[in-house]
């Protein structure tokens, strides 16, 4: 399925209300990540033709003629129409209008709720009705604005899995904008929007593994950022980077000579406790003191002080076994492959 994912190249340039200059490949289910206010919704509205911008493709068509379906946050179902009437809205008035609408509702598994008004549907059901309505026009591109924002945590993953499956069934390219890295993990292709342009683009596995900028890394869930300089890159297997009071080993990367200023990013979940008396070798040991800790679902988030402030996420069994409390001194470790290097901005 993913090899034959439908693709489309989108360009969008606008000045007002936001300066945007976007060139983006939409391949299968594509997620565009960006922080709030960066212009994600504005971009979708511009592509759909609801805001003035230079757009390709379909930029020369009026809104109602563009073969683009747009699902805003909250889904914007018409409250005065029943579920099937919402789906039938874009269909032309014909004898089989209702039958066609019901068939679409069936495809999203909601034919039983056809006669309900939107106020009688749950968040996930509304989203599927809106999807069926959007696809009723047989668009060539589907735009989703923050598709996870109106869903509750308990059903979010389930609803999104279902949505992604349905999207594949309909077989059209989809561009979803979100600030939610979990959604990007489900994507075929992803990009990061910052300062009005795409700063990174690629398969989620590549982008998550190698964020290009600190801002991108922050968006992808990295919590620890350190500024330092390359002090050793002699053999082509490892790099040594040092800050004022610390030194860390990272995987070798081309183009980084000794003296280059770099930013390091570490995920809170990639830092682990080094058990006392552990036999395996730790290439990057750090001695820290627990400044604060907070339960986070089934894990424990620790705020550490040491050569550099750090955040680490400890699984519950480990946290319970180690009996960690504020003021404890700990030895922690991070593997070189988990130390991401970005050139300083």
């Amino acid at each position: 399925m993913k090899q034959s994912a439908p693709a489309l190249h989108i360009r969008c340039r606008m000045v007002q209300p936001l300066a945007l200059d976007i060139s983006l490949q939409v391949r299968g289910f594509t997620v565009l990540l960006g922080v709030s206010g960066v212009g994600k919704s504005t971009l979708l509205k511009a592509i759909a033709g609801l805001l003035p911008a230079q757009v390709s493709p379909y930029g020369d068509l009026a809104v109602e003629q563009r073969p683009i379906a747009y699902l805003p946050q909250g889904y914007a179902l018409f409250p005065h129409l029943r579920a099937w009437e919402n789906v039938a809205f874009p269909l032309s008035r014909s004898a089989h209008r209702r039958t066609d609408a019901l068939a679409l509702l069936q495809r999203v598994g909601l034919e039983d709720l056809a006669n309900r008004f939107p106020s009688e549907l749950s968040g996930g059901q509304k989203q599927r009705v809106a999807l069926a309505r959007a696809l009723a026009r047989k668009p060539r591109l589907l735009l989703l604005d923050e598709p996870t924002s109106a869903l509750d945590m308990a059903t979010r993953d389930e609803v999104m899995d279902e949505l992604v499956r349905e999207i594949y069934e309909f077989g059209i390219p989809v561009l979803a904008v979100s600030h939610d890295p979990h959604l990007a993990m489900l994507a075929d292709h992803m990009a990061i929007l910052r300062d009005g342009r795409i700063v990174q683009e690629g398969a989620p596995t590549e982008v998550f593994a190698r964020p290009g900028h600190v801002a991108s890394a922050r968006l992808l869930g990295f919590r620890n950022f350190l500024s330092g300089r390359v002090i050793d890159s002699e053999d082509e297997s490892h790099l040594q980077v040092a800050g004022s009071d610390w030194q860390l080993q990272a995987e070798w990367q081309a183009g980084l000579s000794v003296g280059t200023s770099v930013q390091l990013a570490l995920r809170a979940e990639d830092i682990y406790l080094q058990e006392t008396g552990a036999t395996h070798f730790c290439p990057n040991p750090l001695s820290v003191q627990v400044k604060a800790c907070r339960k986070e679902g089934l894990s424990m988030r620790l705020y550490l002080e040491g050569p550099t402030p750090l955040e680490m996420l400890l699984p519950r069994p480990q946290a319970e076994a180690a009996q960690i409390s504020v003021g404890n001194f700990l030895k922690v470790c991070v593997q070189p492959r988990h130390v991401q290097i970005m050139t300083a901005e």
Partner: protein
Amino acid sequence: MRSADYGPGFPVYRVTAGFDRFRWMGPALAGLVFVFLLAPFAALIFATDWHDFHFAEGDLGAIRTSLLYSMLALIISVLAGTPLAWWLARGQGRGKWFFDALLMLPLLTPPLALGILLSSFYGPYSPVGTLFSHAGLYLTNTAPAFILAQIYGAMPYYIIAARAAFEGVPRELEQISQTLGRNRLQTFWQVTLPLARIGLSAGVALAWVRAMGEFGIVLIVAYFPEGIPVKLWVNLQDIGLSAVYPLLWIFFLVAVPLPLWIGLRARRQTQALF
């Protein structure tokens, strides 16, 4: 429940007792206002001479005049007022605030004063009045003058209500309609109008009551043909209070049910929709 149940320093008992002591005040005050507002209408029942209930001469003509012309004034107000209300709600012109403010003028002007202004503007000696009279349309003491006076009394209220109704329709739904292949006009018919219908109905009801009950403007511009309000005044002057009641009953029976019905329907639909 005693304060001891919550431990020391938690005077639940006294707080609850304090509320209890004054709890009757809210409903009592509401009841008082209710009685104050409706008492005069109850008086109508007792004051009417039911044994000798009859219309004065010309009353039926006044009823016909009021009904027919109010309906025409209402239709014209709605047809002409709706596009303006839509523009005020959705338009993005630079001088919109200015028109917004100007629209308040006919609302804020006392009806009698507005009547005088109309008669100066459309009267037989004014340039506009002359122009109309050349076309055979006399705008003083004629049916068209009567309708014109009612339009001036009713349309501003309709426009204000309709504008609020249009503003209440989420713009996003109109945009979505466009992305679903509907042009602006189709969107207006299929999305904006149905979603604004509750507010629009309220505007229609308000305009209907204003048109039916318009006295000040009509008195100056179109004393004839006599509608219900002018005829009430004439009966009061010529015959006395007893001659007013039958016509007043008709006025209430005709003017009030439509707004009441629309109001109740609107409440039910609002509850069903949201």
